[in-house]
């Protein structure tokens, strides 16, 4: 598929939904990618099946403070410089790029570099959503080394990392990023085509475009955009999204803790949820959703607040009292739920003493009816056993 400036409009809407309240606003990333495509031509998006085992694939992204990014817009060459440095270090030429994070602004960064270099972008990423740290990637869970990794700034300064584990990569790269002015451009987890095929979450860029197109179509047809978003998740590797709660924001608290925006949003239900209350815990991204004290959705399943009138995602920094929202849940792809994966991004890792309960188990009736992808059928069997 050829990705044009228009596809990026759709992707920016969908990536915000997959950003689960965090991930950074895709807007400036979109403008960067659009400018790059205008100057260098469209980018080919290739599926994991089209990747050859001997391909050399570099994930590219930005890391750091979105607030700084809004003010000090990138030069546009940083990702290119980082990629070239990595090629030199490995003594190999890159054949494709991929996102590490399809949610939020990092959905756009591979297109900026790919347009500049005439490379394809692989339709898959390392999480199928947004997460705050570099070890929170399927590449890490499935044994790929995050290093060698390098970060670059707008001057062409490059720092190359060789660390003994991916947690230290996160810590060192974060510290250097501050010195680079608050954000940097990153190449990490350099992989062979075979490794990408075995470790990436498939089809996540297409998923973002598909969600965005659903919202755009709903606007054109004056149909319900939230329903359109949920319908667009059907027949994807995620499985059917579900409207968890309709309500109004009645309280929002946030603070920074160790560099993360941590807080809670309290929603008061209306329509079919009148009389109920939802609380969402977030640390940059939305992590836990409870209705009247009962957990209904938890990380790594996706929890996103949508504006019921537009279907656009509302990020946590934009959330405020009085807003009408629909909280939706989208089941995370199955590979995100392995035991190893949950130790890195399950509720316990973020400090919540609760088990991860898949949406398919929290809403068995809905999923019996809506159906689930093949690899998730086990949840339906289990839940019907439990009810017997």
């Amino acid at each position: 598929m050829r990705i044009t400036e228009e596809d990026l409009e759709a992707l920016s809407i969908g990536a915000a939904i997959l950003g689960t309240g965090g991930g950074g606003d895709p807007l400036i990333g979109k403008w960067m990618a659009q400018q790059a495509i205008r100057e260098h031509g469209p980018v080919e998006l290739i599926s994991l099946d089209e990747v050859e085992n001997h391909d050399v694939v570099f994930p590219v992204a930005m890391m750091g403070a979105p607030t700084v990014f809004l003010e000090k817009v990138p030069a546009g060459e940083e990702g290119y410089v980082a990629v070239r440095r990595m090629e030199r270090h490995l003594g190999k030429s890159v054949t494709a790029l991929c996102p590490i994070e399809c949610g939020g602004m990092n959905s756009m960064i591979p297109f900026v570099v790919a347009a500049r270099m005439g490379l394809p972008v692989v339709d898959g990423d390392g999480m199928g959503r947004a997460f705050p740290e570099l070890q929170m990637e399927t590449f890490h869970i499935l044994g790929v080394s995050g290093t060698p990794a390098c970060i670059a700034d707008e001057w062409g300064n490059v720092v190359l990392f060789e660390t003994v584990d991916n947690f230290r990569l996160e810590s060192f790269a974060r510290a250097c990023t501050v010195k680079m002015g608050g954000y940097s451009h990153l190449v990490d987890y350099p992989m062979t085509g075979e490794q990408v095929k075995n470790t990436a979450v498939r089809g996540t860029v297409t998923m973002g475009i598909q969600l965005g197109r659903a919202v755009q179509a709903a606007h054109r047809n004056h149909s319900n955009p939230v329903e359109a978003v949920l319908a667009a998740t059907r027949d994807t590797i995620y499985g059917h999204g579900i409207a968890l709660f309709r309500g109004k924001v009645v309280d929002i608290s946030r603070r920074t803790s160790d560099g993360f925006a941590v807080g809670q949003a309290h929603l008061q239900g209306f329509e079919e949820d009148a009389g109920k209350a939802m609380v969402i815990d977030f640390q940059n991204e939305n992590l836990i959703a409870k209705v009247d004290g009962q957990v209904v959705a938890s990380v790594p399943d996706l929890i996103t607040l949508l504006d019921p009138d537009t279907g656009h995602a509302i990020t946590n920094e934009r959330l405020r009292y009085g807003q009408r929202v629909v909280a939706i849940g989208i089941p995370t792809p199955e590979m995100m739920r392995s035991e190893a994966a949950l130790t890195v991004w399950g509720p316990k890792h973020f400090g919540y003493d609760i088990p991860f309960v898949p949406l398919e188990q929290a809403y068995p009736a809905f999923y019996q009816q809506a159906g689930v992808p093949n690899e998730k059928e086990k949840y339906l069997v289990q839940s019907s056993d439990a009810s017997r």
């Binding site: 400036i28 403008w31 960067m32 659009q34 400018q35 790059a36 750091g64 403070a65 979105p66 607030t67 700084v68 809004l70 003010e71 000090k72 817009v73 990138p74 030069a75 546009g76 060459e77 900026v112 707008e154 001057w155 974060r174 501050v178 002015g181 608050g182 954000y183 109004k248 009645v250 946030r254 603070r255 920074t256 560099g259 993360f260 925006a261 008061q268 940059n284 934009r318 405020r320 009292y321 009085g322 807003q323 009408r324």
Partner: protein, 528 residues
């Protein structure tokens, strides 16, 4: 005895009020907006002078809220050619100036746009030293080709040095008279939106100057030689000198004026204001006497900006809203007959059913010249729909679940009842129909700061003091009397992924106008 004039030029009407020293309304008038706005202003001011018998020479201050600048942008009328200079290279080149602009404006402005070396990091360090040689050569190259300059530096809200120095070079080359817009005066962190605002500001500087001069001339023709101020969209005033530098800040001052007027007329500082017009109803929130600000970027003529706009929720419900019944049920608005209600509405002898007619038919208000007969069931259902819309709009804007006081203003507010869901009490102040012009007349002068501060070097108190003193200095520069300045709002927003406990601090202060030195500035701008 001295008096002050408040003038609000809206979409439909020009409202003029004359206030005495104690801010009591001596005379008021509404006149239809004329295509030549000044003619309408002259007529309105002439009428209040006539009504009151006040001599024009007794008017010490005249405050104007106007849509002229907004209209110039929307209609692409009389806009300047602008040299657009961003200080940020090598950073920021990934998104060039004018990204996301409408094609016609982008085509017009792209030719004279540059990104040059300069700008700062979030902590005030330089990204690059200012490329003075390139700025000088740009200035030489645009000589005679542009009528204004817009300069935007990365993190200029944190460090203004590069923008000021770049402006100095342009003045050396192009002369002292060239209008130069500096971004740090026009908004906060968020480069592209702030740059857009700066470019628009530069683009309207000539049209704003002409409008101000003709306004001054109109008043002079009536023997009024008052100090002239313009209303800003944050509910405060700018002196003419300041307004000529930053005319873009006058956009969307109408709703703000009306909320400030509501606060003044009731004496309430914290309340919901419901402004009912012919086509729509705006619901806003007063916090410490000022409108709460919107968080969302605002588009002006298709250009995304980061303006300080009041947070309003507007619904398509007003006195002229059409009421229809079809297979989908009864609908009230958003279609409206607007100002034609006085011909088309049933209460005025027409045959279109409007929201006004529903209220009149139910006997809840007396408006118009004709009795209105409508089936009671139909009228009641339409009324209930309108009330539900209003209640929802009010609920959306509330800051807590507690009932709050509500102020009704605007010509259409007679249509709303004295009890509304979510309101602890409903106020209908005297002169509610000219609240906007009153809001302009009584407005204060403000100063603001909105920057990222690091809290690790200094104590929180020291940082807040620093922020406050910057805001106060700005208020004094804008014409406020130092002894009257009060803090209106302080907001601290923690920032993710930055060291040193970085916090974005916004401070707004406001004070009353410094005593006007009578006569010293009369006609100063009319002579240019």
């Amino acid at each position: 005895m001295t008096y002050r004039l408040g003038i609000d030029v809206g979409g439909t009407n020009t409202d003029v009020v004359l206030l005495d020293k104690e801010n009591r309304v001596i005379a008021k008038t509404k006149t239809a907006v004329t295509s030549d706005i000044v003619t309408g202003i002259r007529a309105g001011v002439g009428r209040v002078l006539e009504q009151s018998g006040v001599d024009g020479a007794q008017i010490s201050h005249a405050m104007l809220g106007t849509t002229q600048v907004t209209n110039a942008i929307i209609e692409r009328r009389e806009l300047n050619d602008v040299a657009i200079v961003r200080l940020g290279a090598p950073a920021t080149r990934a998104v060039k100036p004018l990204a996301g602009w409408p094609d016609d404006l982008r085509a017009r402005y792209a030719e004279y746009s540059w990104i040059v070396g300069g700008g700062h990091e979030f902590d005030g360090r330089e990204i690059a030293s200012l490329d003075e040689a390139e700025i000088r050569s740009i200035a030489e190259s645009v000589k005679g080709k542009v009528q204004a300059v817009a300069i935007t530096g990365v993190f200029s809200p944190v460090n203004t040095d590069h923008e000021e120095r770049a402006a100095g070079i342009f003045r050396e080359v192009l002369g002292e008279e060239i209008p130069i817009s500096l971004s740090y005066q026009l908004g906060s962190v968020g480069l592209l939106e702030r740059e857009n605002a700066t470019v628009l500001n530069a683009a309207v500087s000539s049209v704003a100057k002409r409008a101000t001069m003709s306004f001054q001339q109109a008043l002079a023709d009536l023997g009024v030689h008052a100090a002239l101020y313009l209303a800003q969209n944050d509910g405060t005033l700018m002196s003419v000198e300041y307004a000529l530098l930053y005319p873009i800040l006058t956009i969307a001052c109408g709703p703000t004026n009306s909320m400030r007027g509501a606060a003044y007329l009731t004496g309430l500082k914290n309340a919901i204001v419901v402004d009912v017009g012919g086509t729509s109803t705006d619901v806003g929130v007063l916090v410490n006497g000022f409108p709460r600000e919107s968080f969302v970027a605002v588009d002006v003529g298709g250009v995304r900006t980061n303006f300080r706009m009041p947070d309003l929720y507007s619904i398509g419900l007003g006195g002229g809203s059409r009421v229809t019944e079809s297979e989908v049920g009864i609908e009230v608005g958003p279609k409206s007959v607007g100002y034609r209600i006085v011909e088309e509405g049933r209460a005025f002898g027409g045959d279109t059913t409007t929201f006004t007619d529903i209220v009149v038919a139910l006997g809840k208000a007396t408006v118009g010249t004709h009795a209105v007969q409508l089936p009671t069931d139909f009228a009641q259902r339409a009324y209930d729909i309108a009330m539900a819309k209003t209640a929802e709009a009010i609920d959306r804007m509330k800051t807590s679940a507690e009932p709050v006081p509500l102020i009704l203003v605007g010509g259409g507010s007679v249509l709303l009842p004295s009890e509304l869901e979510g309101a602890s009490e409903v106020h209908r102040p005297e002169n509610f129909d000219v609240a906007n012009a009153i809001g302009a007349a009584i407005a204060q002068v403000s100063g603001r700061v909105d920057r990222i501060f690091a809290m690790d070097q200094k104590s929180r108190e020291e940082v807040l003091e620093e922020a406050k003193s910057i805001a106060i200095a700005e208020a004094i520069r804008a014409g406020a009397e130092a002894s009257t300045i009060e803090i209106v709002e302080i907001e601290e927003i923690p920032i993710a992924y930055l060291p040193g406990n970085a916090v974005r601090i916004k401070v707004t202060v406001a004070g009353t106008l410094a005593t006007y030195n009578f006569g010293s500035k009369v006609g100063a701008y009319a002579n240019h």
